[in-house]
């Protein structure tokens, strides 16, 4: 090995010889050129051993020149950018690229786990199901760790991905998938009609096989022709060309998923550019022109480095000007052998022999062999490749003859081509066998998809061009675009005859079908012997087709072999299932921008900036970020802060941003009737200027949500919901209105974001509110009693809404102003409240106070409780229909044994309570049968000087005064608690009415 590109042909190739790119493989330095892939650069440098196989750690080289590569998988890049299992054939070379071989220890050349190969007779398909069972405890401790360490391929970086990703949605009339001869013609035909066309090509260069063959198209070389078509397409404003973009999935409704490798050919993404971009392409029509994938031949030791697909050999020679060997044997069951021989000869590579299993190879093959001075061995097969870490020869067996060993370092093989029909099956379409194509073609493709070129089993170049043009033209026509069908350029005649050969009879040594997962033909035989011979079973039992290449080179050979051993025609055998993605897709690309803080939107309250200035600590409340508490310097911890805030409210006045509660504005003559049907309690009787607490059920009779709703005018209500359920309640109302009761004349919309709302609570709240609202509004108890509500102005002319409602149990108001005034309003409230000692309080203090007051909230509104459970059963109006009425009457929901909401206080005042603790009767054993409920919410109450809790206890309300155990084994705690009324503070509500 050297860094001198000893394997580079003197001329030709689509590479830029004027520039050299340095790269490292396993630490060794090499050079290549722009236009190279990592694989072609390795070939050009004479590197043959590139990886180790999954199970037996056999030495492997480069098999292909495309996405189907099973062997040449490397760890690309280093550090946090390391990408395991990267196909060297798909990596566009850049200056400074570093790659490492994987799945070997200690080194690629000397891999200790290669001993596995010696044990291969034991490691047959499915061997692990039959052993490692004794002793039982050994599996996790001994066997499994060993297996895990041996399994897997590359190593993940183990660090956060430093790059960024983005997503894009695109729409087009015609999506063309693949820019080979067929795809380019399709795009051209559709583009010329004026249709909107998107052309996606996974390669960095458009042209497909035309880049790799020496066939002319019209008067041009394939590459020149492709460049000319690409240039014409680039001039069309309605055509979008996306190179380096793989369409990897087909989804319903004409949605195609593609990933664009925006920066993967660069050392790292440039500023403002993502590493990759996910495209969601919505296409009215699609033309699949994804080409075909060549099949290996299945003979002994067919995995030796130096055994290569014939088409790949031609790619390396013609497209990359890289010489994959010095002396070749060509082994093919089809007419393309002629082209392979000719291209090898043209590149100055000696062709030792052409081995054709057909008794009578066609003239083209004969002539090519003759011209190249190669020996044609007809009616013969290669039974074994010779060599370890590199090919040294091939054993050829003519029918009825004896083995002939020829030395060679390159074996170009072709078992025929398999149409790349994967995407036709993503919506459940079953491929069907085509004897003509010698492969499976689309059965029932997705709606709107046509298939052209080799993907449709049309292998001759002329047919590819024609079928592409026709498909593109027809697709555009389906979208209403007309024009003239482009002329198809002339091509040389080519023949594509092939004779099936799924495996070589009489082969010697391990004959691999699935290279990456080390599945051989005998594994398939074993599977069949054990009853796993149906394709889906054989796949799962042998793991054939389950590696990173998803069996792109393996599946059809495997089906052929299974058909043979089962004695069934291939056409009726069935297949396995193609699934997205067509080639593996980075998880980061599927996630796009959405990670870290951007994972989900954050909603900020109107007072957020102000709260930040106050040093508030914030907490997630659903999508919202809310001030949790407002620490002051010198405070011992959050508990001290919260206790101070509670005490300040209970003894003076505090203010809290409650804008996150869902707010819904309802208008219309039937608004009250609508509320009647939504809530369990009454609404018609609610007077203008008053608010009322309401409870909503789901139709299954359990509590859905609660909140106060105020009547601002005869036909105008403002509803509040819990923060958590705001969106769900609105949806529910829309459903009820649009689907259940369209006759109701009611209009409503969310106004949550429109209004900033602040709770001003505490004995001195009235004084603060009086200072804020504009005269002549009267906030006296008589003028504005508990549960009053009104529209007014405040802060000298700002429109506002004032509600006298209390969550804390104190004299409390909620004042709402348009959110654009929210920031100024909180500052105004603080200023006007200063004389009264106002303090801001956060959701933590709010929570403490609602527990002291016994109000149910999140922990109690858990979707498993009834109104009765929560002590709200008496609100139910029995003489009206409302959502949930009927199902709430089921026996189990009315069972008196059900846990009911009660309060708890520790018997030992110093004991701390924990939400999530379960209740056990004093003398009960600690088992499920004795489980009597659980603690739903707890708080340290500064008002009482000890912890208090709410909980759901079986027959709770009959048990007030009883002592029960609150057991909390996950925190190793158990204490005694006394059951009490949930309203710890002011059960008569005198404070809030005061």
């Amino acid at each position: 090995m050297s860094g001198t590109q000893a394997g580079r042909l003197a001329a030709g190739g689509l590479i830029d010889r004027s520039r050299s790119l340095g790269f490292r493989f396993d630490g060794q330095a090499f050079t290549g050129h722009p236009g190279d892939t990592l694989a072609s650069a390795l070939v050009a440098n004479g590197v043959r051993l590139v990886g180790r196989s999954f199970k037996y750690h056999r030495p492997r080289g480069i098999l292909s020149a495309g996405v189907e590569e099973p062997n040449a998988l490397v760890e690309l890049r280093e550090g946090a950018r390391r990408e395991p299992n990267t196909r060297a054939t798909m990596v566009e070379l850049w200056d400074g690229l570093a790659a490492t071989s994987q799945n070997r220890w200690p080194s690629l050349g000397f891999d200790l786990l290669a001993v596995n190969a010696l044990a291969a007779p034991v490691f047959a398909a499915g061997f692990y199901y039959k052993t490692f069972m004794w002793p039982a405890a050994f599996w996790e401790r001994v066997y499994e760790p060993l297996i895990r360490r041996a399994a897997g391929l590359g190593r993940a970086a183990g660090a956060p991905d430093p790059d960024s990703y983005e997503k894009m949605t695109a729409f087009c009339d015609v999506l063309v998938i693949g820019a080979g001869p067929a795809g380019l013609m399709a795009a051209l035909a559709a583009g010329r009609t004026g249709a909107r066309v998107a052309l996606c090509e996974q390669d960095f260069r458009l042209g497909g096989r035309a880049l790799s063959e020496r066939q002319t198209i019209g008067t041009q070389s394939g590459a020149e022709w492709a460049a000319a078509v690409a240039a014409e397409l680039a001039q069309m404003p309605q055509v979008q060309i996306l190179p380096r973009t793989t369409v990897f999935g087909v989804y319903d409704g004409g949605t195609y998923a593609a990933v664009e490798r925006v920066s993967d050919h660069l050392p790292e993404p440039p500023p403002y550019q993502p590493r990759q971009r996910l495209w969601r392409i919505v296409a009215k029509r699609a033309v699949l022109a994804a080409g075909a994938i060549e099949r290996p031949l299945v003979f002994g030791d067919n995995d030796r480095p130096g055994v290569m697909l014939a088409g790949a050999v031609r790619s390396y020679l013609n497209r990359f000007a890289a010489r994959p060997g010095q002396r070749a044997v060509v082994f093919a069951n089809n007419d393309e052998a002629a082209r392979t021989v000719a291209d090898l000869a043209a590149a100055g590579i000696a062709v030792a022999a052409v081995v054709d299993p057909r008794a009578d190879p066609p003239p083209a093959v004969r002539q090519a062999a003759q011209a190249a001075g190669a020996r044609l061995v007809a009616d013969a097969v290669v039974v074994r490749a010779i060599g370890g870490r590199g090919l040294r020869g091939a054993d050829i067996l003519p029918r009825g003859g004896s083995v002939l060993r020829l030395s060679c370092d390159l074996l170009a093989m072709s078992g025929g081509w398999t149409p790349t029909a994967h995407l036709t099956s993503h919506l459940g379409g079953k491929p069907s066998w085509s004897a003509v194509a010698g492969g499976f073609v689309a059965g029932n493709p997705p709606p709107g998809m046509q298939i052209a070129g080799a993907a449709a089993g049309t292998f001759a170049l002329a047919g590819c061009l024609t079928s592409g043009a026709q498909a593109g033209f027809a697709a555009a026509a389906d979208c209403g675009f007309a024009g003239t069908l482009p002329d198809v350029p002339a091509t040389e005649p080519d023949t594509t005859e092939f004779a099936p050969l799924w495996r070589v009879p009489g082969h010697r040594g391990k004959a691999f079908v699935d290279f990456q997962n080390d599945v051989s033909d005998t594994d398939l035989e074993l599977a069949n012997r054990e009853g796993f011979g149906a394709p889906e079973h054989a796949k799962r039992y042998t793991t054939l087709g389950m590696a990173t290449d998803q069996g792109k080179t393996a599946s059809v050979n495997a089906l052929g072999i299974l058909a043979e051993v089962r004695g069934r025609p291939l056409a009726t055998l069935g297949t396995t299932t193609f699934r997205p993605p067509y080639t593996p897709v980075a998880i980061g690309a599927l996630a796009g921008l959405s990670r870290g803080h951007a994972f989900r939107p954050t909603r900020l309250t109107p007072s957020h900036t102000w709260a930040e200035e106050q040093g508030a600590v914030f907490v997630e409340a659903g999508a919202w970020l809310r001030a949790q508490y407002f620490p002051r310097s010198g405070e011992a911890g959050w508990l001290a802060t919260v206790s101070r805030e509670v005490q300040a409210v209970r003894s003076g006045v505090g203010v809290c941003d409650v804008s996150t509660l869902g707010k819904i504005d309802l208008q219309g003559p039937d608004a009250a009737a609508f509320l009647e049907r939504l809530y369990i309690n009454r609404w018609h009787s609610l007077k203008i200027g008053r608010a009322r607490y309401g409870v909503m059920l789901r139709e299954d009779g359990f509590v859905f949500d609660d909140g106060t709703t105020a009547r601002l005018a005869e036909r105008h209500f403002v509803m509040t919901t819990t923060t958590a359920n705001a969106a769900a309640v609105l949806r529910h109302m829309e459903f009820c209105h649009q689907c259940l009761w369209p006759e109701l004349d009611v209009q409503f919309a969310s106004i949550t974001d429109q209004w900033a709302q602040f709770s001003i609570a505490g004995p001195r709240a009235r004084e603060v509110v009086a200072a804020i609202v504009d005269p002549p509004h009267d906030v006296s108890n008589a003028g504005f009693p508990h549960l009053a509500a009104t529209e007014l102005t405040a802060f000298r002319g700002v429109r506002a809404r004032l509600f006298r409602i209390s969550f804390s149990g104190e004299l409390a108001y909620e004042i709402a102003v348009p959110a654009r005034f929210g920031d100024a309003a909180i500052r105004g409230i603080m200023a006007e409240g200063a004389p009264f000692g106002i303090v801001p309080y956060g959701v933590e203090a709010l929570g403490v106070m609602r527990i002291e007051k016994g109000h149910p909230a999140g922990g109690e509104l858990n979707g498993q409780t009834t109104a009765r459970d929560l002590g709200l059963g008496r609100m139910t109006a029995i003489d009206k229909d409302f959502i949930g009425r009927a199902m709430a009457r089921r026996p189990a929901l009315e069972d008196p044994e059900r846990p009911a909401l009660v309060g708890f206080a520790p018997l030992e005042p110093a004991d701390r309570l924990h939400a999530g603790a379960h209740f056990l009767a004093h003398d009960a054993a600690g088992t499920t049968a004795d489980d009597a409920g659980h603690m739903t919410s707890v708080a340290f109450s500064p008002t009482f000087g000890h912890w208090i809790g709410l909980g759901l206890l079986a027959r709770g309300r009959e048990r007030i005064g009883e002592v029960v155990r609150a057991t909390d084994p996950v925190r190793s705690a158990e204490i005694l608690v006394r059951v009490c009324d949930p309203a710890f503070l002011d059960p008569q509500g005198e404070r809030m009415r005061g």
């Binding site: 409704g253 949605t255 459903f735 009927a886 199902m887």
Partner: protein
């Protein structure tokens, strides 16, 4: 999957919210007729084939729609607005 909202035009399902079977009318029966309510709230035909179902164009016009869709192929056979949507 894409749903042709009668109001907004065709949109991807990311904008829609699914509720389920749209063939069941909410019973007019009294709560005592528990069988009727049980059937409404809990029992479903759950067919393999055409299914009339509620979707809301939640991130669009917020209309509730009745979509007829084949549950085997996901093919959308028809879309209409719920009675109170328009």
């Amino acid at each position: 999957m894409r749903i042709d909202c009668p109001f907004c035009g065709e949109r991807g399902i990311r904008e829609f919210l699914y509720l389920g079977d749209a063939t069941l009318p909410r019973p007019a029966a009294p709560p005592e007729d528990q069988a009727a309510w049980h059937a409404y709230v809990y029992l479903r035909d759950n067919p393999a084939g055409p299914h009339r179902e509620y979707w809301q164009h939640e991130a669009g016009c917020r209309a509730w729609l009745v979509v007829e869709r084949d549950t085997r192929s996901h093919a959308i056979l028809g879309v209409t607005a719920a009675p109170g949507a328009a």
